[in-house]
Every structure is written in structure tokens, then in C-alpha cells.
Amino acid sequence: MIAELGHFALILAFAVSLFQASVPLIGAAKGWPAWMDAARPAAIAQFGLVGIAFAALTVAFVTSDFSVVLVYENSHSAKPMLYKFSGVWGNHEGSMLLWVMILSLFGAAAASFGEHLPPSLRARVLGVQASIGAAFYAFIIFTSNPFMRFDIAPFDGRDLNPLLQDPGLAFHPPFLYLGYVGLSMAFSFAVAALLEGRVDAAWARWVRPWTLAAWMFLTVGIALGSWWAYYELGWGGFWFWDPVENASFMPWLLAAALLHSAIVVEKREVLKSWTILLAIMAFGFSLIGTFIVRSGVITSVHSFASDPQRGVFILAILASFVGGALTLFAARAGTMQAKGVFAPISREGALVLNNILLAVAAFVVFIGTVWPLIAEMFFDRKLSVGAPFFEKAFTPFMIVLALVLPVGAIIPWKRGNIRRALMPLRGAAALALAVMVLVFAISTGHSGLAVIGAGLGSWLVFGALAELKFRTGSAGFSRLRRLPRADWGKACAHAGLGVTFIGISLLMAWQVEDIRTLPVGGTFEIAGYEVTLAEVHEEPGPNYTSTKATMRVAKGGREIAVLHPEKRVYPVQAMPTTEAAIQSGLFRDIYLVIGDEQQGGGWAVRSYIKPFAIWIWFGCGLMALGGLISLSDRRYRVAAGARRKQPLGVPAE
């Protein structure tokens, strides 16, 4: 009954979205206020209806209603409650439902907070947003219905893939979708602006918070996914340049570019058409990501059970929305006149360079991701493009970006002077050089990666601090506290990027690994730590059996950690997983994995010392925090709160 209720609510939401995608747009074109205003209640109703559908599916999962096909295929009565809940989106159908729910959430948010928007712009934004929703409702209802029932309910389910039975599943996909789908707001604003035929500073000010929020969520989502891979997969890799990772990385790069170009539109009224194009492309790449995951055209570890029919459907959605928006762009872009005048060496110039670097980097990732497809189609070559290619092709852009970022962030608008901009950064440059010398001295001379990466990373961190100091001038601490939040957010995000760079380069350069057979009671030494395998025993879990080891780690004879790496076997899916035991520290992680019992006695043991590993995710956290601080800037709240009453003109007499 509840599943049917959910199904019905979903169909109603589809109907409402069709209404919302047509009536307000017609109203905006004809100038009928009542028709335009219909968008707001529709957006909120649509969110309510999808919410009901999602709640219904959640109830089916939580109560283990195996008469629902989806629950049977992806759940099991013995599964812990957390995974019954997060299992709702641990499959294709449920995750699409989450996707549209977040889409309608953004629409409802725009309807609620958008009271200061001009009515026609608001109607168009919500109309475009609903048309995206309508396409995806149709996709779910016609190709991926989560509410299918069995005639006769099976006794128990087939369980969720054990790798997904992890708290990571509860947070990684929702954040990722908040990011992907958040970019739909930027897209809707861009298309609405094209329909209106007007892009100005006010428009940019409305778009920025949405883009900022989407970028922030995407940052968190990607970081969580990478951290999850780090501790779950058993060898501590954190980024694989897998097609699906790339699919989330391209929108992230473009969203970062969009954030920066929208600043230029807001402050200087130039780069308008480029910003519109970026907004379209950023969401377009989100759709491409969805297509890659769902269609299975490119093989990836993330593929859901894929189905060509679904792939074709999403390709059609992608083609019509991106194609339509680009056509509109081609027709209207010429009308957008740039206003500001500035010299090439200026903040504007620096932000243009930022956009070039980020957009071309995204393009490189894109080419590498789809190349296997192109090569097979046009050159009849079956080949792979993986980490070695991306590391070589992508890294140079990040190096240039990191080199120029602190200078570009400090250089004044309109007309600047590089030498003068460098003055306040002298201290930061000296400190970054000192870090490079230090790293070179420690790393026994064999790793250029460590030296360059740590040097660039600390140049970003110290550069951000130097900028804060520069902005306060001689007024000191009291001025520092009064700096606009946007300045703090900017410094925080830029420093976060630096911290991530340091983490990645030092981890990759300095990681130490050891693989061996160890008898119970045996001890070995790795990078100054003595690791002892104290004992191994079998232990039952809720829906698995575990082989659990106790390993003691000592340094200089003093015990510093007792770790319990596990190997689990999930009987329903007949699948083993490794649960690494990690002791995180500020400067290194100790990462232990227990393997199989060996024929000659003893256990396979893999151990790693991973220097600066948590800096990678700490940096991502700083970037997201920077976004959050910027988002809380007074200007946005003022803009959101102020219903600037247009003074009603009185005709002169």
C-alpha cells in the first residue's frame, strides 16, 4: 500500500512539474503575473510530492518489505538499520529518486528564498528547473520505477553489496547529488537570463550563492568518496581517475571556474556570455556524469547494473537540454554587451587566466575519459586511459594555477602591477622556499614531486595568509575581524587547496609499504615502527563473519597503538571485504591490512605508512568551509533579505 502511495505521489509530482514547466514560462513571455506566480506553489508542491515518494521507498527499505522488487534486490533483513536506510540510494532506481528529490528541493528553495527576484526571472528559473525535473520523472517512471512489486513476496532479500555497507554510503552520494543538482540552478538561471535577454551584476549576484553552494557540496561529496575509497579498498588509494570519479571532477572544475567568472560579472559586468556558457557546461557535465554512471558505455568500478535503454534516455535528456541551451546561447549571446574596461594585468585578467586553466583542465579530463570510446569508434583500437596519462596531462595545469593564484588573488581590479602585487607576498615566497629546502633535505633527494608539491602547496597557504595581512593593512587585528566574510572565505578556500596539494604530493612521494607473511606473535619493522601480530580470531558480525587481528604498533619500545584490521565474509553475497585498521595522525597514518592465512602458517600482512594522508581531506574540508564562510557574507544575506521597494515614480506636474 505504502509503495503504491509513493508511486502515485511520484506520478503526481511529474504532472506538477509539467505544469510548472509550461504555465510560468508562458506567463513570463506574455507578462501575465498570475501565471508567473503559479511557479512558486507548484515548486513547493512538487517537492512535497517527491518527498512523499522518497519517504514511501524509505519505509519499504526500513521495514524490509521484500514484495518490492528493489528492496528484495538490494536489502536483507539482517542488515544493520543504518544500511537499510542508506541502502535506499545504494542502487540505480533509489539514487535517481534521491536525485530528483534534491532537484525539486533546489526548486522549492529558489521559490522560497527568491522573493526579491524580478517576477519574470523567477518564473523562468523555476520553469526551466521544472522542465529538467519533468525529464527525470519520466526517466524514472518509464525506465527505472523503484516501486515495482512481486506477485508473491520472497522470504528474504539478496543484500546490499558489502562494499557499500559503510557509513560512507550514507553521506557520499547525497552530498555529491546536492552538488551535481545544485548546478542545475546555475543552468536554470543561465537559460532564464537568455530568455530574458539580460545579464547584469544583479543576475550574477543571484547566481553566485547557488553555484557556491553546489561547488561546496560537490567538494564535500568528492572528498568523502575519496576518503571512503582510502579506508575501504584495502590499499589506501584515494583517487583512481576512474571515469565516474572524473565525471564528478569535471563539474567541480567548471563550477570553480564559474564561481570566479561570476565574480567578474558581478563586479565589472564583463565575461557575461562566457559565464552563461560555463553555467550551461557545468550542468551539462553533471548530466554527462549521470550518463556515464547509468549507461555503462564506459566501464568503471562504479557502474550500476546498467541498461542501454536507460543510457539512450539520459543521452536524449542531455542532448535536448544542453543542445537547446546552447542553441539559445548562440542566438542570444551577441546581445550581451560587456561594460567594464581594464588592463590585461589586473584582477580581471587573473580571473580570465583562472578560467582558462580550470576549463582546459576539465577539457583534458574529459578527453581522457571519453578517449577509449572515440578510439574504438574511429580508430578501431581497444585501449585504456588511466592514472599515468591523467597525472601527466592534468598536473601541469595545477602547477601553473598554484603558481599564479596568490598573485592573482591580491592584484587590484582594473589595472595592476605584478611587481607591486608581489611585494606583500615576499614573506610567503620565502616561507614556501624554506619548506622546499626542508622537504628536499628530508626526502633524501630522490623526489621532485615532494619538493614541488609541498612548495606550491605552502606557497598557496602562506599566500592566503599574506593576503589577509595585506587586507588589514596597518590597522592590525581589529581590522582583521571586520574583513568581509567573503575575504575570509576566499583565503580559507585557497589555503585549503594548498593543504590538499601538500597532502597529495607528500603521500605519493613518501609512502612506505610492506607485504609479508607474519606468524602470530611475530614482529617486523616498517619506517621506524615495530608492528606485532598479537593474535587472530574469528568473530561473528550482524550479517557477516569476521577474521579479526590484533596488531600492536610500537615506536622506540613504547606502544602507540593497538589496531584491529579485519577481513569479512558476507555469506548472502558470498563476498569478502577487507577492513583496514588505520591510526591517523597529523603527519602520518599507520595503515594495516590482514590477508589470508598462508599455507606454511602465518598470515599475509600488508602495512603502509602514509605521510600527510589526512591533509588531503583536511584541505578539502577547508575549501568547503571557505565556501560556507563566503556564503554567509553579509552581501548575500542583505540581497536575500532586502525587498528593495522600488520608489513609485510620481509623474511630474
Partner: protein, 151 residues
């Protein structure tokens, strides 16, 4: 994910990546073996290197790589030998030959084009469009200007 593990279940005993019995005694050779393993793709998995993969064939390939290295082959020879058997599909870094040149040149070329366009745009913003678009002086204005200049 699911498909990958179906495949793995059929092919592999549950063992993880590099096993202790595979490791070579000579650390220098072992390092080379690991570096090579990280370039080669497991032929049956979805996007894993043979270094990470649990599949039986990856184990065979890892052992083969080590065998060749012990026999005195250079890194390139080993990679070539594996590629000859399984095709260029197993190379995670495709060879820069033929059509693949596009893959390698696309990035730098795009960067060049973008920089040129960006530079042109920046130069165009130096003068205000209004000033550029100002209409030339009319006859009367020119006459008046001449008059002023003569004074």
C-alpha cells in the same frame, strides 16, 4: 560494482592484490615490478591495475612480470611482452601513436587556443567600446575644431 564482483567471484579465490609469496628478494627488482604493475590494466576487471586487482589473471601477470625482470628484461621489454599478448587495452597510458596523438595534443593545443583567445579578449578590453564606437567628426565640427586650433 556488482558486475565487477560477480566476475571476481567466478575467477578469483578471495585474495588481495600483491601476495607475500610474489614479492621478489631483490628490493630494486621488486620496486621495478611494482612500478610496471601500476601501468598495466587487469584484463578482466573494470579499471583496476594488476597491482590492485584480486583476479587470478592479475596474479599470473604479476608473476610473469617478475619472471621477465629476473630473466633480465628491461621495463619496456616487459611491458611490450604483456601488450603483445593482451593488446594495448592493458596499457593505462596509451601509446602516443596514430590517432592517439590527438589525445596527447588536445590538451596543450586547447590551452594554446584558450590563451590566445583570452589574450585577445584582454587586449580588447583596454579601450572602452563607447570610445571606439564614437562617430567621426562631421564637416561642421571639423571646421569648428580647425578654427579653435588656429586661434
Amino acid at each position: 560494482m556488482k558486475r565487477l564482483f560477480l566476475i571476481l567471484m567466478l575467477l578469483a579465490t578471495p585474495a588481495m592484490a600483491v601476495q607475500p609469496d610474489e614479492v621478489l628478494g631483490d628490493p630494486a627488482l621488486e620496486t621495478r615490478a611494482r612500478d610496471i604493475s601500476k601501468l598495466l590494466r587487469c584484463p578482466v576487471c573494470q579499471g583496476e591495475t594488476i597491482d590492485e586487482s584480486n583476479a587470478a589473471i592479475s596474479r599470473d601477470l604479476r608473476l610473469y612480470v617478475r619472471e621477465r625482470l629476473v630473466a633480465g628484461d628491461s621495463d619496456d621489454q616487459v611491458v611490450d611482452a604483456v601488450t603483445d599478448r593482451f593488446g594495448e587495452f592493458v596499457l593505462f597510458e596509451p601509446r602516443a601513436t596514430g590517432g592517439n596523438l590527438i589525445l596527447y595534443l588536445a590538451g596543450p593545443l586547447m590551452a594554446l587556443i584558450a590563451l590566445l583567445l583570452g589574450w585577445r579578449f584582454l587586449l580588447s578590453r583596454r579601450v572602452s567600446p563607447e570610445a571606439e564606437a564614437a562617430p567621426p567628426l562631421s564637416e561642421a565640427e571639423r571646421a569648428r575644431l580647425d578654427e579653435i586650433m588656429r586661434e
